[in-house]
Symmetry: C2
Subunit: 421 residues, 2 copies
């Protein structure tokens, strides 16, 4: 690991210490104060839309040689600013996750044990040049009583700064500490390295972006990380699948949006049903513009499918491309998923409950679905109201990370003078 | 960070891959099979007590220059082996934490969301030369469906190997994979380093031992760690405390056992009650053999108390020593705890509910107690039936870590053909 340049380390240290002090305050801030800050921030975003768009235009001018996709992510429009404001109002309307009584029991000696939800503390958010993430992430941290340090892509610095000013306006109006929401004081990449090593100062790192960014964060971080490096999701069509349901779900799981982490990348289909169903599935998807990489058994059924390499089955396409493999039963499907999957989301399509149970129980993935589209792996669809990301690790939280997952807990033990024998 | 020697890295890789395969099996092992393995292991420990004691004697002979405390931790006796066996039977009697339905809800579109407990996977246990920890830790991992790699102090290798043989006998009898419980194949310290960097192979590291060991693990680990580096616990006697209750609780919190992490190390007492109560508290504790480091205000009340340095308030004594500070109210007590505490366990003694709430709400510690001894911070006392350790971090689990805390969760989403709009 490279040493962190002095100045980046010093800047991070200053920011994180201010964030810790702010965290101690907003961790205990009353719900109305947090909601007021959110609503005022939304109002400020609308009020300052012109300023934000001008800052965004300056960001775009300063970065001429961008890919179309990158440029689109970086670009703000009046509609996107309005969406940010509405999103903030939605978060304000969500229940406060802090202070929930998670469990309570009484011991034989009369001690009352209470497990109570509390914020994590200081969250470090590392993301690419999508200015709207500045607001999305900050408001979830604020609502969950956490302080946050936001480090977005350097190309979006001006936009992020303008958005941040609106969030701070909300904090100020509500009488909450402004250091509760901070943007990185430098575009120096070394600041990211300092965040990743800030054990004791930052409690959690949430990276949001491409596999390259997330993988680097996971490899370098000395601070806990909630994230997913990729979503190589599988849809397994079991021999007892309802053909019409299978066609509708696969088309949705692959093609509704091809760029999301919950999109299906590989189709596994039972040999018993493939001869009759696979041609229909391929025709459906071709009509939607999807192309294929298929194994030998699939190509025996549809000769003109391009062949799949081993690497294809290990690839998260994030595009209108589907890897196809014919299998014989749940066990072979599970073995393929264990070998190539990313423990994100997998679905089985079947009318056979025994097969469905065997598949769901056999998975190690964060989310297993039965007769539903893998694209439902999303905090809103889970009913969390919002999400800061999807986690595929084993610790703390798995699947969509919403307000509740941004909290930890502590115990309150209520006694009447008990001493331990 | 130093590079890991080839051989240690290779040995860890082999052990961890075998553990992962075993984990996939025992994660889904039926409760009766896991319990059978536990009961058979307990029986094997009793049957092979002589062999284990001989191995332990050889360990003791091979390590002549040990401190008395170290020698005591390393020494096994027939009573300690019986205690191990009984402890295993207690764990067998506990409910199985795997597969519990943690939450269930239905979405407007009819999707049924289920959050289900599942094992973490492969746990790396790093501990000092206390042979009994080999059994204690292994059985908690087995009951919670996790595979475990045990790396105890090198001085206890022969004892650990003899105990391990009994645990494997249990696995074999129950038809469970023997690689589910492994001891480090080498005493090479580099193996520990390899464990700490085994991201993707080991899901969680649990260190158990002195502050030096735990701190090293926390600093070097690239794998999640559940632990506490120290338990610098405070008992705060508020001005509205019941004097008799305060005396009983403090004597217990400090002196019941001085070497446990939940022992009180610092007394904070309100200036309003100190003149009348502190002399009684000091007399109680002196009669029990406790000595003191006191701040100026305490020494104005009891002149012969030795003075406390700043360092004293930052010291986890783990001995019959108490730091004493006179404060004025909850806020000053909280400020002192934030500055010197370890976020482990703190208690307030008061009859004033408002003060108690302010104190408990103001803490960031894993456990806050009201009118109870800090020594209740223990998995058994919490009703967990067992504990593998105490965690003071923010992620995943805080406070006592028992069977439930050795699990993560996954989602099962049950649909009827839903596709995402």
């Amino acid at each position: 690991m490279n040493a962190i340049p002095q100045d980046a380390a010093r800047l991070l240290d200053t920011a994180a210490r201010a964030a810790r002090e702010a965290a101690a305050v907003i961790a205990r801030a009353p719900t109305p104060a947090k909601n007021l800050a959110l609503l005022e921030a939304a109002a400020a975003l609308r009020r300052n839309a012109a300023t934000i768009l001008a800052a965004n235009a300056a960001d775009l001018d300063a970065a001429p040689n961008l890919t179309a996709a990158f440029r689109d992510r970086l670009t703000l429009t009046p509609a996107r600013i309005e969406a940010m404001a509405t999103g903030i109002e939605d978060v304000a309307a969500l229940p406060d996750p802090v202070g929930r009584l998670l469990a309570e029991w009484t011991r034989p000696n009369g001690l009352v044990m209470r497990r109570v939800a509390q914020p994590l503390g200081v969250i470090g958010m590392i993301f690419e040049s999508r200015p709207n993430v500045t607001a999305d992430a900050a408001v979830l941290c604020l609502k969950s009583g956490n302080a946050v340090i936001l480090r977005g892509g350097s190309e979006s610095t001006r936009s992020a700064t303008a958005i941040h000013a609106c969030l701070v306006e909300g904090l100020r109006t509500a009488g909450l500490p402004e250091s509760a929401i901070q943007v990185a004081p430098t575009a120096d990449r070394a600041f990211v390295g300092a965040m990743l090593r800030a054990s004791g100062l930052i409690d959690l790192i949430v990276p949001r972006g491409g596999k390259g960014l997330v993988t680097r964060v996971m490899e370098e971080a000395r601070v806990p990380v909630l994230a997913h490096a990729e979503g190589l999701c599988h849809t397994y069509i079991h021999e007892a699948a309802d053909p019409a349901m299978a066609r509708a779900i696969l088309a949705n799981a692959k093609m509704r949006r091809t760029g999301v982490c919950g999109a299906t990348e590989t189709l596994l289909i039972d040999g018993a049903i493939a001869p009759s169903l696979l041609p229909l599935l391929v025709a459906d998807l071709r009509a939607l513009g999807c192309s294929f990489h298929a194994d030998g058994r699939a190509r025996e059924i549809i000769a003109d499918l391009p062949p799949a390499t081993e690497q294809d089955f290990a690839t998260e396409w994030l595009d209108a491309i589907l890897s196809v493999k014919v299998v014989d039963g749940v066990d072979e499907a599970l073995a393929h998923i264990r070998r190539y999957g990313s423990e994100h989301t997998e679905a089985i399509i079947t009318q056979d409950e025994t097969a469905a149970r065997a598949f769901l129980d056999g998975l190690d993935s964060a989310v297993g679905m039965w007769n539903a589209s893998t694209q439902f792996c999303d905090g809103f669809e889970f009913g969390f109201g919002a999400e800061i990301g999807i986690a595929t690790g084993r610790m703390h939280a798995r699947g969509p990370v919403g307000l509740e997952q941004l909290c930890t807990y502590r115990y309150h033990v209520i006694g009447t003078g008990q001493t331990r024998p």
